[in-house]
Each structure stands twice: as structure tokens, then as C-alpha cells.
């Protein structure tokens, strides 16, 4: 793990082609993900601060817990 950076922003991104609507992300990161009527994730579009440790931790759980590996954390400062 090493030292975690606490400055900067991140967003969670989903690859809609890979996503099959398992819905694990909404369970693991309810702060970031909502589920639509067909079971596919609607992800909060505004960036979150990396310093927001709880949210970042759930985003990591969601990323790792996705059965299709469709999620990805994108840090906005690196691009």
C-alpha cells in the first residue's frame, strides 16, 4: 500500500460495455453509486477529494469487488 496521497481528486469510472449489472458496486460504495431500474450503476459524476478516506476506501472496494472488472478509479490530477 505505501503512503496514500491525500491531495487531489478522483472519480469512479465504469466501462459500460463490460458492466453486466451485478450491482456489487452499489453495495460496496453506496456513497458513489446508485442503481437504475435495470440494475446498472449510475455513478456520481462530480469528483471526490482523495482526502475523503472513507469514500476513497469504498471506491477501492467497489473497484476490486466488481465481478467484471468494469470499474476504475481515475485520479484527475495525473490524467
Amino acid at each position: 500500500m505505501g503512503v496514500r496521497r491525500r491531495t487531489g481528486l478522483f472519480i469512479l469510472q465504469v466501462n459500460p460495455i463490460l458492466c453486466d449489472g451485478f450491482g456489487h458496486c452499489a453495495e460496496l460504495a453506496p456513497e458513489l453509486v446508485e442503481i437504475d431500474e435495470w440494475g446498472y450503476p449510475i455513478i456520481r459524476s462530480e469528483p471526490v477529494s482523495l482526502g475523503d478516506t472513507d469514500v476513497y476506501q469504498s471506491a477501492r472496494y467497489a473497484e476490486r469487488g466488481c465481478p467484471r472488472r468494469a470499474l476504475r478509479i481515475q485520479r484527475l490530477n495525473e490524467k
Binding site: 459500460p16 458492466c19 437504475d36 431500474e37 446498472y40 476504475r72
Partner: protein, 425 residues
Amino acid sequence: MIASSTLPRLMHDAGSRPLSLAQHEQTFAATTKVGSLVDELDASGLTGRGGAGFPTSVKARFIHDQRSLHKYVVVNAMEGEPASHKDQTLLNAHPHLILDGAEYLAGLVGAKNIAVCVARDNRAGINAMERAIHERARRSLRGPKLDLHTPPQRYVAGEESALTHWLDDNESLPQYRRTRPHVLRIAHAPVLVENAETLANVALIGRFGAAWYRGLGTSISPGSTLVSVSGAVNHPNVMETELGTPIRTILAFADADTDPQAVLLGGYGGSWLSGEHLDVPYCNEELAAFGVSVGAGVLVVLPRKACGIVETQRVVQWMANESARQCGPCAFGLPALADGLNHVARPTRDAKQALQQLEERCATIKGRGACHHPDGVVQFVRSALEVFSKDVARHVQGDACKGSLESRRYATIPQLERAEELIWE
């Protein structure tokens, strides 16, 4: 040389058959080396004619800056829009003009290959292009290598990532691009995808220069464009117009109904424009105020006696069927939109609830696909609900308008195919 302020440009000397290479060079003069084509393109202000209207010079420069031994130029003459016939008209008139433009751009970005893509069902277009490529190959062995490809006839197959993916020996399905701008690749080689009409314009700019090109059109959208007029027209046709011509004038030229209820602009992912605003100039900067764009140059004229909701429902149903079914919001959302519109078009007791759901679903689906197919449909549905709001209100009360009972339809769509019969390879 064609005078700078006269039409037609692209359709200059267009006969009933495609011009041969010799005839073509007599009409337009042989291509000459240009000092700096990208600067000329910049100065000309040419934008893509495939629908998105992105500046051609920016795109060309972006691919030019990619470091790679091999590059491709892809000629997109797929024309998935059922109401658009401009690329086919161009193929059947001046196939060499398209190829000239492709060779100009290939020289600019440093591409060694040009892939010409014509949809499989467009037999006449394939013949014209095959012959044009053959004529060029016989004349000279220099220059980029020209190849003809025939991807399947699907609406999304003409989307640039789907086209590139197909050329890369795969299915013609749109791809997810995590960041934009994104470099599309065929076997690791960067690809420049341009619409056929854009390339024909590039060929003219390469010959006559940017100042000549700006002889027509407005200062923001210079030049001319091909429009396909269909719907309430005596003869559906394709014609060339100066950008910035009032829409009513275009309709009058096309011998169409000049006092229609509404006009569908851009294509089936475009928007309806109410009949009250028909005096607005046909160019993106003026149309933007009404949330409409020139798009792929489609004009579907809807007369006063027709029902806009029924037309919209049919188109949305076809668009839902043309989805590649890769992304959930598109695969499930578009059929849901079509179903909701059906409840409104042929009023049932669920109509009110369906209308409310339609608006909610539009907001949910928007921007959640890998390509812009669902976004286009959402925009189309939203514009229909706005432009035909009076009719919608009446329909929801259970009082369907007379037009919805008539059998004549104005927006043409190909026959609906069953999902399992759609060909993607």
C-alpha cells in the same frame, strides 16, 4: 476552375453516372501539391460532415502528431442514417473527389493506407468505388494504398470506433473510450476517420484554397453542404446548399411542403424543429439556440396533418433495435423509451404515467453508453416531447389526434429485423 461564389461545388457536373478519372480531372483539374494543407484547412474552417461537426484541421493535426510508422485514413461512406443519401449521391457522382481528399489527408498525416468503407447493401456505391480505385491503381503505383471494405449495414457500424474495430478484424461494435480525445488504432496504427463529404470538401480546399472555400456560407460555418430532404416532398432528393440558407428556402428548392408542422434536423439522433422557426439560417451557430444542429444533413418534413408522436415512436423503436446491446442503459433503456412513447402515441390508460416515466428515463439514460447512440435517441425524444407538447397533452388525455390514425408515415425506416438476425461481422 469553379467560381468561388456559385453552387454547385460538390455536385459540379454531376451526371447520372460516376465520372471516370479522366473526366474528373477535366472537371476539377488535377490535384496539386499544397504548401501547408493543415493551415489551409484551418483557415477554411471546414467541419466534419458526418454529424458531430468537429473541425477537420484539429483532428488531422492530432493524428499527424502521433508518432507511428504506419497510419491509416478511413473513408467513412457508411451512411447508417436511413433518411440520409448524401454519401451515396456523392459516390455515384464524384468517387474520385472523395479519393482525392483522402489522398490529401493521407499525405498530411503520413498515412500509407487508405481504407474506403461502403456499407455492404449499397451495391451501386460499391461498384462506383471499386471502379474508381481500379482506375487509380492502373494509373500509378505511387501514393497510399487504396482498399475497399464493406462493413455490415448497421446504424452504429458507421460510428468511428465501431468502424475501426471492424477493420481491425472484429465485429462492428462501438468501443469504450475512457479518455477523450482518444486515438483509434488498426493493428496499433493510428487512424483518421473522415466522412466522405468532408473528404470531398478537403479535395476542393486542396485545389482552390481556403479563401475560395470561404466564398460561400457564413463566417463560422463556411462552404456548402449536402442535404437529404425527405418526408412531405414530391421527390425525396439530395441537393447542395450554401450553409446559412434559411430552412424555408431549402424546402422551397426541394419542392417540399413549405409550411410544415415540424422538420427533423440532423438525423434520427437529431431533433425536431418546430414549423414556427423555419426562417432560421441552416448553420450550427444559429440552430444551436433551438437545441438543434445540422448533423448529417437530414431534413425530414412533417406536414400539419401528420402526428409527430407516432413518427417519433416508430423511429425510436427502430433505433432501439439498432442498438449494439453492449451497454445496459442503451440495451434496456431505448426499448423502454419506445414502449413509453407507444403508450402516449396510441393512448392507453397508462399514458400519463408513461409520459412521466419517459422524462425520468431520458435523464437516466443520457451519457451512459460507450458511444453516443443512446444520447442521440434521448435528444430526439426530448425534442419531440417539447415540439409536439400540445399534441402530447391531448394524447395523454386519451384524445389521439387525427394524424395518428392515418396510415401514411413520413420518416422512412428500414424494415425492423429480429435481434437474433442482426449481422455484426
